[in-house]
């Protein structure tokens, strides 16, 4: 009994420390790369800004799977009991979406713009036993080359 509780507490502590570290590092890299790729316009419009001298267009995509940590999972199940905002899941999905868009932009660095951007989110491991809490985000759009 004491053994089980101490394992649980150790897992919580490990999850908290490594989860916070990884999230901080990830947000830092996301901000840096967003700054770098700011010049490439990305819109959800169906038509390009102007149609003159378009050489070609191509489907581009970026995807990422991000997992939750043990501490957040526990926190979420607690909040689930009382009700309210599960902010730990919000940051997880936010990170995944921004990462997917960044990967899409990196895939089409020399494009002049990206139009009709769509984002799809799915939890790939929903129905598994002892499930892995992870989300997959796919961003896709059409890159226009001039």
């Amino acid at each position: 009994m004491i053994f089980e509780i101490s394992i649980f507490l150790i897992l919580l502590l490990i999850g908290y420390i490594s989860g916070t570290l990884i999230e901080k590092r990830h947000y830092k890299s996301i901000r840096e790369r967003e700054e770098e790729l700011k010049a490439l316009p990305t819109t959800t419009h169906k038509r390009p800004l102007y149609e003159e001298d378009i050489k070609s267009c191509k489907l581009v995509n970026g995807s990422v799977v991000i997992s939750i940590d043990y501490f957040k999972k526990f926190l979420a199940s607690l909040i689930n009991f009382f009700g309210g905002n599960i902010s730990s899941y919000e940051t997880l999905i936010d990170r995944a979406r921004r990462e997917a868009i960044l990967r899409l932009k990196e895939d089409a660095k020399d494009a002049s713009e990206i139009i009709n951007l769509r984002i799809e989110t799915s939890s790939i491991t929903k129905n598994t036993k002892n499930s892995v809490g992870a989300v997959e985000v796919l961003a896709f759009g059409t890159a226009i080359y001039r």
Partner: protein, 104 residues
């Protein structure tokens, strides 16, 4: 083969429609990767194995869609959509569909 997710191709003319073309794959990860993912679930962070796997299977689904379009004699696929669903424990289905056309 031109592939886009917009409804036309700028400065080109659509001369023939072939209707819907699609491709799908169902893939499961092997046990080692599942265990690693379970392990990663304690620490948090990106599951690189899963990202790779999904990218690979999406490419395969795209290849199947392209093969179908080529067999119809199309030279472009417009308005492409993706969808992902988990059909069974540990396996996910990736489905890609679009409209095959001939452009000039």
């Amino acid at each position: 083969m031109l592939i886009t997710n917009i409804e036309y191709i700028p400065n080109r003319e659509i001369i023939e429609h072939f209707g819907i073309v699609s491709g799908s794959t169902v893939r499961a990860k092997h046990v080692g990767r599942d265990m690693m993912a379970g392990f990663k679930n304690i620490f948090g962070g990106e599951l690189k194995g899963y990202t790779e796997l999904l990218t690979e299977s999406r490419e395969e689904a795209m290849d199947r869609m392209i093969a179908q379009a080529q067999s119809l004699g199309a030279n472009a696929i417009l308005n492409v959509r993706f969808s992902t669903s988990s059909v069974a424990a540990g396996a996910s289905e990736l489905y890609v569909y679009g409209t095959a056309v001939v452009i000039r």
